[in-house]
Symmetry: C2
């Protein structure tokens, strides 16, 4: 493949939410002159959430990418505890033209110092954690700040990928992909955000996740302690 | 796991569109008392579209499922040419409580005789092929006819999965999943269907796919020749 192809790396790790990774991958891979790879530590297959095994095409240690896209999932906590893995994201993201995250992938970008001073979003359950890594939380589905593009939870990665597709290849190419993946959504029950869900529904999920979220806060605080002086 | 769990099998094959399979899998696996497995011929890993490798958890030859969900993709043609594989779907689907497809997975259900006399949908590029397998094409995002539930292309599998979630576990459980995967879509360019795309955009894609679609028609006609007398 020629050097003028756009190289997109989607990070993968044990406990990644499969739709966080596959949504953007499936959308972005349909662009012309784009090469998308799934990249994991050592290029090893990962055990995604729900027992699905994903086989990567590259090792994070060796990837150079024009676009880094980091998905989230319950495995984010284990990833955060691995400073060497976080450093790999810092290196790849620091050299990329675009740095993207889906869902709680924003916490990984944040731990890598890649969201310091940037407006960003993440899964609604983790939005309050962004300030721990000096990011500015924004309650929108997709947030673009300079070359950082972050999305809300899971399915929002599809919206993000179409926005990014337009940035990379133009609106016409993005519309073509939208038609190929028939992205004309019709959510049947209208409860896909905290705006439309009943207050009890969101509270119940917050309650279930308390321990996971507390651990996340602690891990993010530890990552932030490694930050150098404030950027910019 | 107890026998009262709902067993959902998502079929996988070489050339499957990853988002067709992973969208419903990620949604349905979040339901209570559900076990979702990806199932392939011989339980072998499959090479999905865009080079992604998916590791299955079961063999199609051995699966018994309450719900069969069949995704689509360019690999549908090769699958159609394998009568033994199509027969596996006929067996699993014939015993399942719900038979679902995403995108051109409907052509596989059709070849297995599972859509004869049923209203169904598929990716817009393949909608005209449904009558070849005696299905009644309907241009909607999700079509339910008795215990068959079929969706339009790729991303429509998420809408289908939420509808199916409500059938399996109730609307409250489906709303909870919708909130977890934050399904509050905001398509940025509004070109996700032939209604909203310019006529030139759809025509260009039809043109590109002519050879693939002709081969599909031929393979489906061959499958239909194996059908017995009209059902019902």
């Amino acid at each position: 493949m020629g050097e003028d192809r756009i190289r997109i790396a989607v990070a993968a790790f044990d406990g990644v939410t499969p739709l966080d990774a596959v949504g953007p991958l499936d959308v972005l891979a349909r662009l012309p002159a784009v090469t998308v790879v799934l990249a994991s530590r050592g290029g090893r297959p990962v055990r995604a959430e729900f027992g699905l095994e994903l086989g990567p095409g590259a090792a994070l240690e060796e990837v150079a990418a024009d676009v880094l896209c980091v998905p989230g999932g319950p495995g984010v906590n284990r990833f955060l505890a691995d400073a060497a893995a976080v450093d790999l994201l810092a290196r790849i993201g620091g050299q990329a033209r675009w740095v993207a995250s889906v869902c709680t992938g924003a916490l990984l970008l944040g731990a890598a110092g890649l969201l310091r001073g940037y407006r960003a979003t993440t899964h609604w359950l983790s939005l309050d954690l962004l300030p721990v890594v000096e990011a500015i939380p924004v309650e929108e589905r997709v947030v673009v700040d300079r070359n950082r593009i972050t999305s809300a939870g899971v399915t929002a990665g599809i919206d993000l990928a179409l926005r990014l597709a337009a940035e990379l290849s133009g609106v016409e190419a993005a519309r073509r992909v939208g038609l190929l993946v028939e992205y004309d959504p019709a959510p049947p029950f209208g409860a896909g955000s905290t705006r439309t869900a009943g207050p009890g529904e969101a509270a119940a999920l917050r309650e279930e996740r308390t321990a996971l979220q507390l651990e996340r806060r602690r891990l993010l605080a530890a990552a932030a302690e490694r930050f150098g002086p404030a950027p910019g």
